[in-house]
Amino acid sequence: MKLFLYYAAHSFVNQLKKLMKTWVMILIIAMFVFGIILGLVFALLDRAIEDIEPGEPDPDTSETEHDSGATMPSFTGDDGSVIYTMTSNDILDISVSAVILLTFVLSVATFDRGSIFLPADTVLLFTAPIKPARVLAFRLACGMGAVLMVGVYFLFQIPNLIANTSFGVATVLMMAAGLMLAVTGAIAVKTVVYIVSAGSPVRRRAVRTVLFALLGAAAVGLFVYRRSAGIDSIALAAVKYVTSVYSRYIPLIGWCKGTVLYVNEGRPVAAAVCGAATLAGTAVLFFVSSRLKNEFYEDAAAKAEEVAELQRAAAEKRSGIFGAGKKRGKDRADRVRRDIMTRGSGASVYFFKEIFNRFRFSFLGIFNGSAVTCLVLGAGVSVILRIFTEFRSMIPAALVLAVICFFRTLGNPLRRDTELHYFAVIPEPGVKKVFWSLLGGLAGCALDLVLPLAISAVLMSEPFYIPFAWFGFIISVVYYSSCVGAFVGLSVPVNAGTTIKQTVQLLFVYFGLVPDILILALIGTFVGIAPAAAAAALLNFAVGTVFFALIPGQIVK
């Protein structure tokens, strides 16, 4: 624990120190300042409104409505009558269950020999007089930061889920404690799973099978429950299944959940029993892991070497995780063409490189992984809508495609080019190199979009200009997101950490795309969806170009 706290504290402080030296700090300060100003302005406005209308009760916070559960979601039967109205307890139960499940699933699902260990661990921790299971648990605990962040985010969402419902102080405190219990329990489970599965592909497969079997059992349980309880609605059956008091008997997950829920129900003894059971279960798992034969050091050391290689590559501003610093385990198939890079001159070679590789590694020159994903999800949405509903619009398909394309651009989409020194030394203007490199990525994205958009337009019987409008909009989103990603990727130091970079990028992208939503909603409602998509696209291209202009200046460190 001492080791973990020392490491966590120093890592956090060092990350902050690194960030202090970049423009990210200015951004954070600006956010705080604007946040405080906005908060004060809204508070003053609120007060001013209250002064104008004194004594008027706020209907949203009235106890009567609150207790009656008028704002709670409800389930209706075929005749439209309400058959079940959810209580605040149900919503709390579902939220807590979701957080705990997410914590366990996120940690346990990634039990494969991922990059858990850092290169320094091999020489500093593996050789130290510490039990291997403890070293593993320490490193896993360090990697639970993301889970913790997600959990905290969900916890903060609970008040929003239950409008105008407030929990008692004990419940809120127990929520935080429950989350910590879940995180600790998840680390214990992951430690055991990692040790059991390390060094043996057969055991790894077996563990994976067991995990899938557990998920399958949960699904079968829901089916059986629905049949035996005679509930028609799947959603209602799922709510009752998850909130069933018997779910609190499930080891660790259920106990952890019970700890929080029993406090909310005013049953401290039951809560204490659940909490003690969770702690005891976690302790047993840690004890078991310390007794298991540890065979993961060799595996982990090899993986740590790979990580070291990648870190050195990043530090040298050369090939990143896809770079050639590392040799492939196996050569590519002979059928892959190896002599097609025959176009381009000057900076445009970056564009043709992307296009040639797209055709080289794709089925029929078009269908690679992302194209198939776009086709299945984008066109699939329209197929489902066509068959099962009367809804006729390609908006859902277009939005699904926009989301897929957006997430493809997370990180620095120009990384493969900008991380190699050629990008700086090739005698062409920086802006041209960035432009052609970016165009290569956009062209790849455009190829992914054409088919699903065309199919969706036909299935939804849309006018011919609608898919063009959506095509332009999605490409503009990708352009904007790529420019932001490249700017953030290049301007924030390599060693600042991927999570921090992606957080900053998401911040920019989310705020940058808010006007799109407003434009689509307003112009889409009052004028039409095609002009709305075109207007949003124009805005994205304009703002994206501001970031584009900043990229060349960031190529040289």
């Binding site: 050195r312 050639a324 492939r328 050569d331 890079m341 080289r360 020194h421 050629y422 005698p427 040289v556």
Partner: protein, 250 residues
């Protein structure tokens, strides 16, 4: 060919290169020697235009960031930097096209033959071993036939044949009047190759000596290096015993 004036590069508070001024003439083979962390790689990267710095660097009379300067500059990094999805031949084609070279096919073949990569032409970048990646890296750096070549620890990872071949390339370049700057911390790897040696330590140029100047002192390059960097007279040490005699006594 290369004129560095008051070049300073800082990483935060760490001064990697401190007010370095250096002239390297046409046809010279200059070696940058220094212990780890001396600032050799940073100096090379600054000249190549890969990092920002204060001061000025002019290559062939042009600012090092200008396209004219880049056109006559070749840079071979310490670690191979290749595209995983381009083959050996395509890497060279890519660079030839990026530099808008003409009549480059024969030069590609010559370079691949010299570094024994002809039979690997259709291998992808990530299908090559590290040594082969480094050889391809050298071929790429030399392909535009630059007037000034910067090599950062070029011999690391090379097999004896490739090292021999690289030394022949050095000779060939010298004969053609090309300028070569090689950074290394392994003195043996560059002995007999150089016209001039610049010794760096803690970001400073500690010595700048030509071969004739060194010959006149009667010292070897290794002796001179240790004298400059550690103020150790290795000749005297050889006479009195081991460098580690003090440690042994403990």
């Amino acid at each position: 060919m290369l004129k560095i004036s008051h070049l300073t590069k800082k990483y935060g508070k760490v001064v990697a290169c401190n007010d370095i001024t250096l002239d390297v003439g046409n046809g010279e083979v200059a070696v940058l020697l220094g212990p780890n962390g001396a600032g050799k790689s940073t100096l090379i990267k600054s000249v190549a235009g890969l990092v920002r710095f204060s001061g000025s660097v002019r290559i062939g009379g042009f600012d090092n960031r200008s396209e004219s300067a880049k056109r006559i500059l070749g840079y071979i990094p310490e670690l191979p930097a290749l595209y995983p999805n381009l083959t050996v031949a395509e890497h060279l084609e890519f660079i030839a096209r990026a530099y808008r070279l003409e009549n480059y096919k024969n030069r590609i073949d010559d370079l691949l033959d010299a570094f024994e990569l002809s039979d690997k032409k259709k291998k992808f970048g990530d299908e090559l071993s590290k040594g082969m990646q480094q050889k391809l890296n050298i071929c790429i750096g030399l392909l535009p036939d630059p007037d000034l070549v910067l090599m950062d620890e070029p011999m690391i990872g090379l097999d004896p044949h490739a090292i021999k071949q690289l030394k022949l390339v050095f000779d060939d370049m010298r004969e053609k009047g090309k300028t070569l700057i090689v950074s290394t911390h392994i003195i043996d790897s560059v002995d007999m190759l150089w016209d001039r040696t610049v010794i760096m330590q803690s970001g400073n140029v500690m010595a700048d000596i030509t071969r004739s100047q060194l010959d006149s002192t009667g010292m070897t390059l290794e002796d001179y290096f240790f004298k400059v960097t550690e103020n150790i007279d290795t000749e005297a040490m050889r006479g009195s015993g081991s460098l580690l005699s003090g440690t042994d006594a403990k």
